[in-house]
Amino acid sequence: MRITAEAKTATRERIIKVAAKLFAKEGYDSATTRGIAVKAGIATGTLFNYFESKEAIVAALISEALASAEQKIRQRDDETLEEELFTFIWSELAALVEYRKFLAEAAESILSPLRRYAKESPGNSIRANHLEAVEQILMNHGITAPTAVAMQLYWTLYLGVFAHWATDESPKQEDSMALLDQSLKLFVLALPRSGAGHHEHQAE
């Protein structure tokens, strides 16, 4: 029997949905691909036709949430660099908020900077897409070639905010909101002084 493309997509979506529930219930580290397959009503072997690992499932889940966030982010003309970055990152985090419970463990597994050099990590594309969006925002504000060090500084700050947010117990994650605000002020100050972004910051 041939499986239609629609049926394939539906199964893929079901796996992601079931996995999200299981991660939330059992914790990301404890959940297994076998457990996910059972809950999704498919054979473990079938699951591997869709995702090669648990990491790949959570990476897909995050990517999809982020993609939906990106559609919602409208660029506002009057936003400064700092504001646009703030909007971008906070909207992404807001899209992930329902998964917050297990994201700390998952992020440690797929986004940790210590795993940066692991080839074929499912987190690589998330990182690449995110940084590409950030570079685009920098470009919108006249910073065309940020240094590798500047981007690494950004990523380090971002992961710090992400980690704080994932485990933040303050009401409505308000401490993370403040931390993001402070982190971006720091990042913008570290950008080259000749960039348009800096002038904008001075004008504030």
């Binding site: 936003e79 700092e82 646009e84 703030f86 909101m177 403040a178 605000d181 002020k185």
Partner: protein, 471 residues
């Protein structure tokens, strides 16, 4: 504390007061530079950083005053005045620098200090006044996300219009103008995320720093006052509490009073966002800049005092008599903004007000009322050297109420007399109940405000009128 003693010593006043004296123009220049610098300061979110900075600040103030006191033993009076002046300016500049940096907690502490002229006289009071309007802003994206998190929608969806630029700085947030879809002009006060909880953590640290181990009788009293301050700050950070305060205050005034307490719009308010009726007009500083006539000054001053008396009899102390909180409306009415700092007066503390009335009725002397408090021994009450300054302080306080007819608040003589007496009082320690911290803030704050207004008010008649319904 990691602060090096050498750093602290170098921050103390120079040894040549004649040449090193800062005139106000120079102080202004320094202030400008500091404010320019402030725009780039990051708000430290890390609690440890704040502890250190506040700790350093209190040490610097203490050391600066200690050094002044020691040198004062060898200085003649004129020199002493100069040195005091210089120290005050230096300490004020340092405080402004640190306070701006610390935002929340320290700004509130600064405002409290700002109302205690015996610690920080004129220049400092006006410096802190400036600080109030100079808190660094939140950008609109942050505002939008706070409103979204609090009210479930972005400002542009919630309101018919919303100004992205704030029109005023609140001590722990900022205020934006907006229009409701139903047409009302409103002011939306928005709190910096997480600042309230951070301030409370800071205050615990400040208490630990200021009162490490040994407690004298005066120390107990100060600790009680710090506890009162903590409770007030906790309430002030909760805008839902402020909304309730505003509702209670609003019920106290009738149209004929010419006093406007803004309406709160609950469906647009939470503990972090407060939406209230916008009150158009000028704050006291702007009012004064317009060179108002004596009649206009008197009318505004009378309303400001009416508010204080009305609330006191209702057992509420409007304890933030900051010039920015009073709005002179174009139609002559007085608008009040900011109800974060309303102190409920407990029945046992209300005796203070009762005793004032008994004194005015000639039924009790100030000395007798001090005896009734039970805070002083007979030996202390009989010692002019100890109790004298306190008696003179009460005389000063009751003078405008006891006087028949109008009292001229612009007269510098009673004002100078108060400062002189406070200088003496500050060297002695008088035990006083916790509520007095805010009561003093109100009394001095109001007197400073009325002095600036140079208003003439028949306070005795006003008090009699406000007392009537309660007799």
């Amino acid at each position: 504390m990691n602060t090096k003693l050498s750093d602290l010593l170098s921050s103390l006043p120079q040894d040549e007061p004649e040449s090193g004296l800062l005139d106000s123009a120079e102080a202004q220049e320094q202030l400008k530079a500091i404010f320019a610098d402030l725009a780039y300061k990051r708000v430290p979110v890390h609690s440890l950083h704040r502890i250190w900075t506040i700790g350093e600040l209190s040490t610097q103030i203490t050391l600066a005053y200690t050094a002044l006191w020691v040198r004062g033993l060898f200085a003649d009076t004129k020199k002493k005045e100069q040195q005091r002046n210089e120290t005050n300016i230096r300490v004020a500049l340092k405080m402004v620098h640190r306070l701006g940096y610390l935002r929340g907690a320290a700004i509130k502490l600064g405002q409290a200090f700002g109302s205690l002229p015996e610690l920080l006289p004129d220049q400092v009071v006006s410096t802190l006044d400036m600080l109030h309007a100079q808190a660094p802003p939140m950008h609109y994206s942050l505002i939008r996300e706070v409103v979204l998190a609090e009210l479930g929608k972005e400002p542009t969806e919630l309101f018919a219009s919303f100004d992205k630029e704030p029109f005023a700085a609140a001590s722990i947030g900022q205020v934006h103008r907006a229009t409701l879809k139903s047409g009302e002009d409103v002011a939306v006060k928005i709190q910096y995320p997480g600042i309230g909880r951070a301030i409370q953590a800071d205050l615990r640290n400040v208490t630990a720093l200021v009162f490490p181990t040994r407690l004298t009788r005066g120390g107990e009293s100060i600790r009680g006052q710090i506890d009162a301050m903590k409770q007030m700050l906790a309430e002030e950070m909760d805008y839902a509490h402020e909304a309730q305060n505003a509702r209670e205050a609003r019920a106290l005034f009738k149209e004929a009073d010419g006093v406007v307490v803004p309406k709160i719009f609950d469906e647009y308010s939470t503990s972090r966002v407060l939406t209230m009726e916008f009150i158009p007009g000028k704050n006291v500083s702007e009012f004064l800049a317009g060179n108002p006539s004596q009649g206009e000054r008197d009318a505004l001053g009378t309303k400001i005092n009416l508010v204080a008396e009305r609330m006191l009899y209702a057992r509420i102390n409007y304890s933030d008599p900051h010039s920015g909180n009073y709005i002179a409306m174009n139609d002559g009415r007085l608008g009040l903004v900011d109800f974060g700092c309303l102190q409920r007066i407990a029945p046992e503390d209300f005796k203070w007000m009762d005793n004032g009335d008994r004194f005015l009725d000639g039924k009790i002397t100030v000395l007798e009322s001090l005896r009734e408090t039970g805070s002083y021994t007979e030996k202390e009450l009989a010692d002019e050297n100890f109790i004298g300054p306190l008696l003179r302080h009460y005389d000063w306080f009751l003078e405008p109420i006891a006087k028949k007819g109008t009292f001229d608040f612009g007269d510098p003589e009673p004002f100078r007399r108060m400062i002189e007496n406070l200088k003496v009082m500050v060297e002695k320690v008088y035990p006083s109940p916790p509520m007095y911290l805010y009561m003093y803030r109100t009394i001095f704050g109001l007197r400073v405000l009325c002095y600036r207004l140079k208003c003439r008010v028949d306070l005795g008649a006003l008090r009699a009128q406000e007392r009537k319904p309660w007799v």
